[in-house]
């Protein structure tokens, strides 16, 4: 009699187990989730979380997690269904498999939007997750750290809440664990915390994170390196002191070896780190240059393709922007303007804009720098970028500013010649101005100017009298004898022909 009763219960239990396991499996494939949602799986899974049998609880939690992971409607349904408080409560109590699954659900809910993450925090999940971080099992720690990272990712308040819960020292301890995946996740969580504000970054640094992150730089695992460099770059981007602390961890020149790593994202994050450090002060840039950083970054730009080059180009621009000493160091490292100039026509807008900006920073200091930039035939390309009708405002503004700054210092006439023919009036003003400054003192230049057709072009420019352009044109015309100027002025051949017609030969 009692055996039959018990059999019913056993059947029910088996049914529940089967249901939960199948749902969990189905939820791992995206195409089933719509159907599952329509079938009302949420309301069915909720009571199963409170089931007596631990395996059913864990599998239900796992299924919930996978569902919530898929899109934010389901995550909101999880939140609305008041599942979170239950999960948080049981995080403190249950065994490690359940903890892993519960942390997975929390992470899946929190990753979609700041509001969902806020609702996760409001349930008191942070304290429970931090307690999980103190567990022995590395899998639990990993899930907890992952959830914390996803919560902190959205905005500064959430990150501050994570820090206030005391997560940072535990995360730093997690980084020192031997398991690679745990290290990876903790580094990612620290990176997400640091990126919002200098105070948060300072908190992370005070916990001693930099030393441990720096130790992992030469680790062979690519994913780990990716997260480590991301964390270091988020720390160093805020203030000079933080950047100096990162530098004092002796990361140079070991970091340059990672610029040649096979993984693209590692390279990108290393370049970002170097860029954030170089941005702050001339001394930091000097440090990087002295360690051979510019050469490494130039090679990096040469070898990679696409958007990944952007941090490298920006780094060169920041380094060259500080002082003309550093700009000369960049030039000397064979930054291959040809290459930078090549970017200007073939790539997407951000790369083009960054390349234009960087060229402007390099070339604007002294005539030497301007000559080095201009002799790589970069100026016509900049002009083209400026004149393109389909270019974004950003690109146009940057290329115009770069052109203007380089032109104001450029006295290398052969490089200025091509610009005479195509430039619009506001750029032409600078070009003609430079000619008018150089030609009065340079006899050979004058001759070249005439033979290359520059004088002819000057005559064809219509300038309003009294404007600066007209003054420059007058200055250039006064360098030459009158007959030559008249010869090249437009309509002279017609005037000559008219004279021929009117001439009566004397018999």
């Amino acid at each position: 009699m009692s055996r039959q009763v018990l059999q019913v219960f056993e059947q029910y239990q088996k049914a529940r187990t089967h249901f939960v396991q199948t749902v969990a499996e189905l939820a791992s494939r995206p195409q089933n989730i719509e159907t599952l949602q329509n079938a009302g799986v949420m309301s069915l899974l909720r009571p199963l979380l409170l089931d007596i049998v631990p395996t059913i609880q864990q599998t239900a939690a796992l299924a919930l997690g996978r569902l919530a992971n898929y899109n934010d409607d389901l995550a909101e349904a999880v939140v609305r269904g008041d599942i979170l408080p239950q999960l948080v409560y049981s995080l403190a109590e249950q065994n490690r498999f359940y903890k892993k699954a519960a942390a997975f659900v929390l992470r899946a809910v929190a990753k979609h939007s700041p509001q969902l993450a806020q609702s996760v925090v409001d349930c008191g999940a942070l304290d429970a997750l931090v307690i999980c971080l103190e567990e022995f099992d590395p899998g639990v720690k990993e899930s907890a750290a992952w959830a914390l990272g996803y919560i902190a990712r959205h905005n500064g308040e959430l990150a501050q809440a994570v820090v206030d819960a005391g997560a940072v020292p535990l995360l730093v301890l997690c980084i020192q664990e031997p398991e690679i995946s745990l290290k990876r996740i903790s580094a990612s969580a620290l990176s997400d915390i640091c990126k919002h504000s200098p105070e948060l970054a300072q908190t992370v640094v005070d916990a001693g994170a930099i030393a441990h992150l720096a130790q992992m730089i030469l680790n062979p695992d690519a994913n780990l390196k990716r997260q480590v460099f991301s964390a270091l770059s988020q720390i160093s981007k805020h203030t000079v002191d933080l950047a100096e602390m990162v530098v004092e961890a002796d990361i140079f020149p070991a970091v340059f070896t990672c610029l040649k790593d096979s993984d693209e994202h590692v390279k990108k994050n290393v370049a970002t780190l170097i860029r954030e450090i170089a941005k702050h002060t001339p001394e930091l840039s000097q440090l990087i240059v002295n360690a051979g950083g510019v050469a490494a970054v130039v090679d990096y730009i040469g070898e990679t393709k696409g958007n990944i080059r952007l941090p490298g180009i920006m780094m060169l621009g920041y380094v060259a922007a500080h002082t003309e000493n550093l700009a000369m160091a960049v030039i000397v490292s064979k930054v291959s303007y040809y290459f930078l100039g090549f970017h200007l026509l073939k790539e997407e807008w951000p790369i083009q804009a960054a390349a234009a900006w960087a060229l402007g920073q390099i070339g604007r200091h002294t005539p030497e720098h301007a000559k080095a930039v201009a002799s790589a035939n970069v100026l016509p390309k900049l002009l083209q970028c400026y004149l393109r009708t389909d270019a974004s405002e950003d690109l146009q503004a940057k290329s115009k500013k770069a052109l203007k700054n380089i032109l104001q210092k450029c006295v290398h006439l052969p490089a200025l010649e091509p610009l005479l023919h195509d430039a619009p009036p506001n750029i032409l003003k600078y070009v003609v101005g430079q000619f008018s400054k150089v030609l009065p003192h340079d006899a050979k230049g004058r001759k070249l100017f005439v033979t290359s057709g520059g004088l002819k072009k000057i005559q064809e420019i219509k300038a309003e009298p009294g404007s600066a352009l007209a003054e420059y044109i007058n200055a250039i015309n006064s360098c030459y004898p009158e007959e030559i100027v008249k010869y090249y002025s437009p309509g002279y051949s017609d005037a000559l022909l008219e004279r021929v017609e009117q001439y009566t030969p004397k018999m």
Partner: protein, 255 residues
């Protein structure tokens, strides 16, 4: 003889004739002689007067000469004084320019910009870049041995040591300890004197000032005035720097 007597009887008449002819000739010659005499007198008087005038001229000339010499010597002494002054002034200016030139060169090279230092730095940088570009990733790390450090060999090869020995050009902070002889003499406040130099030649004799005073004056710390420190174009440069900083920090130009 008869002719003679006859002539003598006629002598009176002859004599009368002769007289009258003579008188006539004398009368004719009188005017001429008178004119001649006047002429001779005039000429002689003229000579005398001319001689007198000449004498007077000479006297006047002499007086004028002495007077003009006197005036000119006065004027000359003033001119000489001025010329000497101008000559000395130009010389002092030239010397002052020389000092200023030397000082400005020293000041610029020490505190502003040193061309040869920059050149040396750039050459060293190129060498460093070559090393970094070609060889640094061949260096072995703690975890992974490099290609010059095979695990099968008892010790790394010499290329490995070569690469390891390359240090980055580090920007070390200035060391706190100074070399033994320091020209600025920072710690001169202690009683330790700088090491002895060569003895002074016998040109410098006589009572000397107290060495401490001299040292203090000689090794005074460099306190340039604001005018010296400030670049002539500091205002324009400050404006340019403001604009430049704004341009560098602004990443997105989309309006």
């Amino acid at each position: 003889m008869a002719a003679l007597v006859r002539l003598l009887e006629d002598a009176q008449g002859l004599q009368n004739l002769r007289k009258s002819v003579g008188e006539y000739q004398a009368y004719a010659a009188r005017l001429y002689e008178y004119a001649a005499a006047v002429r001779i007198q005039a000429w002689f008087r003229g000579i005398r007067v001319r001689a007198y005038l000449k004498f007077l001229n000479k006297c006047a000339t002499k007086i004028q000469k002495i007077w003009r010499g006197f005036l000119a010597r006065r004027y000359y002494s003033i001119l000489l004084r001025n010329t000497v002054f101008i000559m000395r002034f130009k010389h002092y200016n030239a010397m002052a320019s020389k000092i200023q030139r030397i000082w400005r060169g020293y000041y610029v090279r020490k505190y502003v910009f040193c061309y040869h230092g920059r050149k040396r730095y750039l050459e060293a940088l190129q060498v460093k870049n070559e090393i970094v570009r070609k060889h640094h990733y061949l260096l072995s790390t703690e975890v992974i041995p490099g290609i010059y450090n095979s695990p099968f060999l008892p010790c790394p090869t010499e290329e490995e040591y070569l690469l390891r020995s390359v240090q980055p050009l580090s920007h070390k902070k200035k060391k706190a300890d100074e070399p033994e002889f320091d020209p600025i003499c920072k710690n001169y406040s202690s009683s330790v004197l700088p090491p002895l130099k060569k003895p002074l030649s016998s040109m410098f004799i006589g009572p000397f000032r107290d060495p401490k005073d001299v040292q203090k004056q000689r090794y005074k710390p460099f306190q340039p005035t604001l005018r010296v420190c400030t670049d002539f174009f500091s205002l324009e440069k400050a404006r340019e720097k403001l604009k430049k900083d704004e341009w560098v920090q602004r990443i997105n130009d989309n309006l």
